[in-house]
Symmetry: C2
């Protein structure tokens, strides 16, 4: 019986073997095309989906900026919604609203992305708006007005203790590499930024051969390639490439106090595999066993005991490196004890790993990625992120199978190659 | 061509006609069964889904409590996770974690629900855990410990200005009806609550004929009915029913000050159709035109102009009544002006309605419900909520078609039957 797995008595094999079996019933297909000007178009086409999603992923972010222009990627992301040759800023928003689009954009160290999630019959209009805003007017008057919005955003984030601590820790951890840049920039760099410098950054970095259009859901791939050729085919390619510089890691302790915080904030960083390294699966699983938000070593030792309000570990991969973060919040008087417990759990992790840990994490990951992949917006984001960082496609089923094959020995090997012990420890405490 | 709608030049008809067409390709089927003890089981079975979800929806909440036991529904929801005859509290969490479940519970005035979202091969185990915790041990020692957690939760919510204002406004708006009850209870009612009173409430209200099991996704319905019969078939039915009392609405103004807030908070309430009244579709659309979080009258008049940080309208339906809420946050010195603008937009809404408004709202709703319905967890929640409040099934496509048929005249008729002008205006301002 096809649906027999719903009854426990008939269940055999691991959850991921099962996920593999399901895939046999999915008519989902991967498609790939490159326009003459270098614009890459990729899609997971799913005729059974009820919606469709499209995103432009540009391989440019805070790490690609000159230090003097710090924040230009994020400021530019804002400016993309301020109008084009064909649409005013109001019209951009109205046209998205008219088709009931869920739409948004984001900027990180690694990339800048613009996406929309719509009913299938509105995908063409969504693509039209996205392609249009990807060639922005960048008018001086809009630039001057938006500069104040950015400065307010920087001021707002300055009220968030972990954000502030993260920015300062990254500056110490990457002492001479642009990964130290603040995504929002600083009040100084933003205030001093001229419009022409943003225009030059845009002209160079937003080249069609430095971006990918990711599509997912119910769509006609050939029709999409034809319409993207019509809309983006004349965009000039510049051959923009990311410059990969050697990385040296900072270390030690960073202690800060502030009269704006009431709690103690702890952030630890250790080097981890890059997204191009298949050891990333083991690194992600180690982070989950150590510090998933529930059912993890840190959860049991710090949250269940009431010693900390928050205590998590997280793997964050980039295309040429990666980080393992451990962070916690607690009462200032428990700060020393919390840090002691965190280090005890980190140092004792490898020796205490069990098959139960592996099985629990496999199950959680299998659920998480399957749920994310159930919506075209989730599939589109996975595609866009994967192509931008790794330049290749791997199916969800393939990734789940690789996760399923990770053994306890793999976890131990990766933990020995990339020790979990923090290289940098940053602390933020109440002043006085 | 089947996928032709991806190209704008071929698009005809409204988005919702199109959503209707899509449904022809979905092999999704509704199933319904009732066990001899009255337990209703409903499902939207979708063989193409990658996951499955199950929820127990109990038709009991704050409105079904004696005033002296206020908060017992929510406290009981917590106790359901504290162990059963077969599982300790730790085992409940571990067993959910072992299958990688996304799981949670909630309590409102109207209902209490417990659900899990898993890979299809884990649905049986998820159902086993859910059915088990629905017959909790309610041990005195756990009860005493959890009482402190509830009291801390009440203290935490007391720090949230809109929550406090909402609770006080509801007490004034429903002066002599249990809809005035606070879902969390008060420190007094919770402190005084005896375990035996909770046990009696549970024994009466958690009757199989007062709940529904909602299922969605990739599952074998007949196998699920058989396993639920095995797990829940011996539960004793009590014939528990909700008591519907006549409703009298309070009105006027409620002014509060607090030295804990820095901003001005405004909350307005007007009566609206119930969830059993098909006018609810028009009421929901009126609320969206007036105060959706973006692209609405209040957004343009208050957010875009920078007069308020937040300004929204929301329709909230219950099984025998409904409310239209309007809420805003602003600087204390703008309070009078913001309230003036809100009332101007509310009073001018009907005369200013256009076909563009209707079309924009239809598109937004079509996207929202389709995206929510793309995940089995979303479908399960829609089913459980709908059956608990309306006692009947309506497909997503049917609901979208009804929304699509709402005309400007319908909006005007419903606004005339249920005037939007607030019956109660509640304000919270900084003290001194």
């Amino acid at each position: 019986m096809v649906l027999g797995q719903a009854d426990r008595s008939q269940t055999t094999g691991s959850p991921i073997d099962r996920a593999f079996l399901h895939s046999a019933t999915m008519p989902l297909s991967f498609r790939h095309a490159v326009l003459p000007n270098g614009l890459t178009i990729i899609a997971e086409v799913d005729p059974a989906a009820h919606t469709a999603a499209a995103g432009f992923y540009v391989k440019t972010g805070a790490r690609d900026e000159d230090a003097s222009l710090m924040g230009v990627s994020h400021f530019l992301e804002h400016m993309m919604f301020k109008g084009t040759a064909r649409r005013t800023a109001d019209e951009v928003n109205q046209h998205f609203d008219n088709i009931g689009a869920n739409y948004n954009a984001f900027t990180s160290h690694e990339m800048t992305a613009f996406w929309a999630h719509v009913l299938p019959e509105h995908l063409d209009e969504a693509e039209d708006i996205l392609a249009d805003i990807l060639r922005p007017a960048l008018r001086q008057s809009d630039f001057d007005l938006e500069k104040n919005v950015i400065l307010e955003e920087i001021a707002m984030y300055a009220d968030q203790p972990f954000w502030v601590l993260y920015e300062q820790a990254m500056e110490r951890y990457y002492p001479d590499h642009p990964l130290r840049h603040r995504v929002l920039g600083t009040p100084e760099t933003i205030s001093a930024l001229p419009r022409d410098a943003m225009q030059r950054y845009f002209d160079d970095r937003y080249s069609p051969d430095n971006m990918v259009v990711a599509l997912a859901g119910r769509l006609d791939f050939d029709a999409r390639v034809a319409s993207l050729e019509r809309r983006c085919g004349s965009w000039r390619r510049t051959g923009a490439r990311r410059e990969y510089r050697p990385i040296r890691f900072g270390e030690g302790a960073l202690d800060r106090t502030s009269d704006k915080v009431n709690r103690h904030y702890l952030l630890m960083i250790a080097p981890a595999p890059s997204l191009r390294d298949d050891d990333r699966y083991a690194a992600m699983m180690l982070a989950q066993v150590l510090g998933d938000s529930e059912g993890s070593r840190l959860y049991w030792a710090l949250i269940e005991t009431g010693l900390a309000e928050e205590a998590q570990a997280q793997y964050d991969g980039r295309d040429d490196t990666g980080e393992l973060y451990v962070f916690a919040t607690c009462s200032p008087e428990d700060a020393v004890e919390v840090e002691r417990v965190v280090l005890k759990e980190v140092d004792g992790l490898v020796a205490s790993l069990t098959e139960d840990d592996l099985q629990r994490v496999r199950s959680k990951i299998a659920t998480g990625v399957t749920v994310a992949g159930e919506r075209p917006a989730g599939r589109m984001k996975r595609l866009g992120h994967m192509w931008t960082t790794q330049g290749q496609y791997r199916s969800l089923e393939d990734e789940l199978a690789r996760i399923n094959m990770v053994t306890l020995d793999d976890l131990r090997r990766v933990a020995s190659k990339h020790p979990l012990t923090p290289r940098l420890t940053a602390r933020l405490s109440p002043a006085g």
